[in-house]
């Protein structure tokens, strides 16, 4: 140890203090937890994050490959939705000229309106005709426009 304070003369070696050992232990534990979190997040980066979603046309093209795996699909919500007796809703999304029928069970975000791009989580139905979704995320653009009280918002009929 070359702890050589320049100012203080009180420099005899001090026996290890219990407080120091305890603090080291606590911080060591914190570091282990953070290391675990790092591992988890790196797996997420390589897995989920690197291919967050397929565009609707890609998801259709890769239908055979995707099988019944869970994935996310992106497209613009077109038309209107219809309520089904079982509580789910049906609507269509479109991207790059490809339309996909969606059967969604679960809640819808407040900003889920026709014309907005959405990312859905779920899988292809067994026959591959419909995307079975259970989570809708509204994808927001990077533009901001002031809402004028005297102007009718563009997303209302």
């Amino acid at each position: 140890m070359d702890v050589t304070p320049r100012t203080a003369p009180t420099l005899e070696p001090v026996a290890p203090r219990p407080a120091r050992g305890k603090r080291g232990l606590v911080i060591g534990l914190v570091l282990v937890v953070l290391l675990g979190a790092t591992g988890f997040l790196l797996i997420k980066v390589v897995g989920d994050a690197s291919l967050y979603y397929y565009n609707a046309d890609e998801a259709v093209a890769k239908k055979a490959q995707l099988g019944d795996h869970r994935f996310r699909i992106q497209g613009t919500y077109v038309g209107t939705s219809t309520d089904e007796p079982d509580g789910s809703i049906e609507f269509h999304i479109a991207f790059n000229g490809t339309r996909v029928a969606v059967d969604h069970s679960g809640s819808e975000p407040a900003l889920f309106k026709p014309g907005v791009p959405v990312v859905l989580e779920g899988r292809w139905s067994d026959r591959g005709t419909t995307f079975l979704s259970d989570r809708i995320e509204v994808k927001h653009g990077e533009d901001y426009r002031a809402k004028h009280p005297d102007r009718v918002p563009s997303d209302q009929p």
Partner: protein, 246 residues
């Protein structure tokens, strides 16, 4: 004044920061308009984006300080790196919290594992790790060297986090104001820019104070382990309140 880390410069800076924060609150919560799509939720933009950008800047200061420390063993840069990371951690925490609340309104979910959110979480974990290493009870030179090496990690992580929306497909939107012709309403843009200035002022103000606090910590460390022990005792006893000087 005794017992404080303030000087005339920091008092001026602090007054400017407080006045700026008051102005920012006025613009963000009252004077700026609702967004056509997002409604009132757009008011979180003015805290989310400035805290993120200033936090990123703070981490680059930490990286710079770490490099200079490893190169020249400069105590000044060692403390600057540490102080900057402390403030960066608080600001990035603010970014995460504001982002989650904004996401709840805008996307419909608090959290999702897209590249931007995941790399931001990773950056937050790294800076917490850096600060934990800074508190390790070991000899200061060794601890500072170890921390500086960990601090270097913040550089590439910050860059990846910043470009995540460009390099990958994300739910998170891309940049607005770095584009040539930002599609943003005038008063919204002004409020956003005011937010940048105010949080930059806040960073500078806090950086000076945290630098001085850490500098005092180094001096106490220099004074020997007996003094440090007394400090810990008084900390345990009074829980951070004033006690008469011995």
């Amino acid at each position: 004044m005794t017992g404080t880390t303030s000087s005339r410069g920091t008092r001026v800076l602090g007054a400017l920061t407080l006045a700026g924060m008051a102005a920012l609150l006025l613009f963000a919560l009252v004077l700026s308009p609702q967004d056509e799509v997002q409604g009132e939720a757009v008011r979180m933009l003015y805290v989310h984006v400035p805290t993120a950008i200033v936090a990123f800047t703070a981490f680059f200061v930490t990286v710079a300080g770490s490099i200079v420390y490893l190169w020249k063993r400069s105590e000044w840069w060692d403390i600057t790196a540490h102080a900057s990371a402390e403030i960066g951690a608080v600001l990035l925490g603010a970014t995460l919290v504001s982002g989650m609340l904004w996401g709840r309104v805008s996307w419909g979910v608090y959290w999702t594992w897209d590249a931007r959110l995941t790399t931001t979480a990773l950056l937050f974990v790294f800076v917490l790790g850096y600060l934990a290493v800074r508190r390790l009870p070991m000899e200061r030179d060794r601890r500072s060297r170890l921390a500086a090496v960990v601090g270097l990690l913040l550089g590439p992580t910050t860059i990846v986090c910043h470009y995540a929306t460009t390099w990958w497909r994300t739910l998170h939107q891309g940049p607005t104001i770095t584009r040539l012709n930002p599609e943003i309403d005038g008063i919204m843009l002004f409020t956003l820019m005011l937010g940048m200035v105010v949080f930059a002022l806040l960073y500078a103000w806090l950086l000076i104070h945290r630098f001085r606090v850490l500098w005092l910590e180094h001096r106490v460390e220099d004074l020997g382990l007996d003094a440090a022990l007394a400090e810990r005792r008084s900390e345990a006893e009074d829980g951070g309140t004033l006690v008469p000087s011995p």
